[in-house]
């Protein structure tokens, strides 16, 4: 078949809609007068139609009822292991947030040091010498002014022999922040053992010690 120069290069582009507007207009003008180009374009269009027809017929023969279920099954089968996903996450994170190993090591050492210091802090505080009675009374008075609590009774030696155990002597009294009850309540500090008693009873005169 005789073909002009346009047919060789531009007809497929025209068919695919790839030509810019000026060239497309020029091609349409050319097609009116050029029979080989018109025929070549017709053949291309016919070929496209036949191809679509064949594909459609093939697709009609396929059962798509379980298509998405199959996709989900495949996705589930191909789910990578936890270790692999963690490694991928670490690598991706490492790429976006590049931090050198020494930085991680320093952070870990700092955290460990912080943890050790936190655990030793209480022991260090207790190992300090106990405050003098005047200091303790002053401290107790400050606490009295900050929060409501039973009347202060000066510290007395406890039965637990705390000093022999290496602990600072502390009052056993409770500091009450809030107390509510549907019954009558009495609160007192027993000076004998320096502990707080909360008594709840409907008939206080009969039951209260």
């Amino acid at each position: 078949m005789e073909m002009c120069q346009h047919a060789e290069r531009l007809i497929p582009l025209l068919h695919d809609g790839e030509l810019p507007s000026p060239l497309r207009r020029e091609m349409h003008s050319h097609l009116v007068t050029c029979f080989p180009c018109t025929r070549a374009l017709s053949l291309l269009e016919r070929g496209q139609e036949l191809l679509s027809q064949v594909i459609d017929e093939e697709i009609e023969g396929i059962d798509f009822s379980n298509f998405w279920q199959g996709v989900e099954d495949k996705l589930r089968e191909s789910r990578p292991s936890w270790a692999l996903r963690f490694r991928l996450w670490v690598e991706r994170w490492h790429l976006t947030q590049p931090l050198y190993a020494p930085a991680w090591a320093v952070a870990a050492v700092l955290l460990l040091t912080f943890g050790v210091l936190l655990q030793q802090k209480s022991a260090i505080d207790i190992a300090k010498s106990p405050p003098s009675p005047s200091e303790r009374i002053a401290d107790q008075s400050l606490q009295d002014s900050l929060s409501p609590q039973p009347p202060f009774v000066p510290d007395q030696p406890s039965d637990r022999n705390d000093l022999e155990d290496g602990f600072a002597f502390v009052s056993n009294q409770a500091q009450i922040e809030s107390l509510s009850s549907s019954d009558t309540v009495a609160v007192w500090n027993d000076p004998g053992n320096n502990s707080t008693v909360i008594w709840i009873g409907s008939d206080m005169s009969e039951e209260m010690p």
């Binding site: 020494p102 991680w104 090591a105 955290l111 936190l118 107390l179 009850s181 019954d183 502990s195």
Partner: protein
Amino acid sequence: MNLSRIAPIGFTFALLWAFQALAQEVELRIETVLATNSPVIAPGLTKGFEGKFNSDLQKQLTSAFPYESYQLLERVSRKGQLGKREDFSLPGGRLLQIAPREYTNHRIALQIMLMEGSAPSPFMNAALSLPNNGTVFYGGRRYQGGILIIRIGATVKE
């Protein structure tokens, strides 16, 4: 496995360890005593104690309460954590709920709730703080012809 991979994993473990160090363990002790004024049978004694009493509990009861005999009904010790509530069953279908809230200046802050009734409802709600290893007494509820006295103790391991 090279250092660049070991370091983040080590960091993670260190982080977990640091958080664990922050979560302090609290030991809660509940001793339930039935106090009555029934006569003491044992000769030579002015007060009667039935059950395995600690000497400090005996002395505290003798000092603080005027009853003639004491019966230790139950002694429970349980380990909990700050911020986590613990429930203790008491005689007479009562329920004691203790939530250690925080530990500062060697004092343990506790939220204590006493409940009773077939559909337990709170009849006492208290927020208080005890010195570490300290105790507080609750009393006044009737039970089997006597009065219940409950000693609550809390200890944080330092």
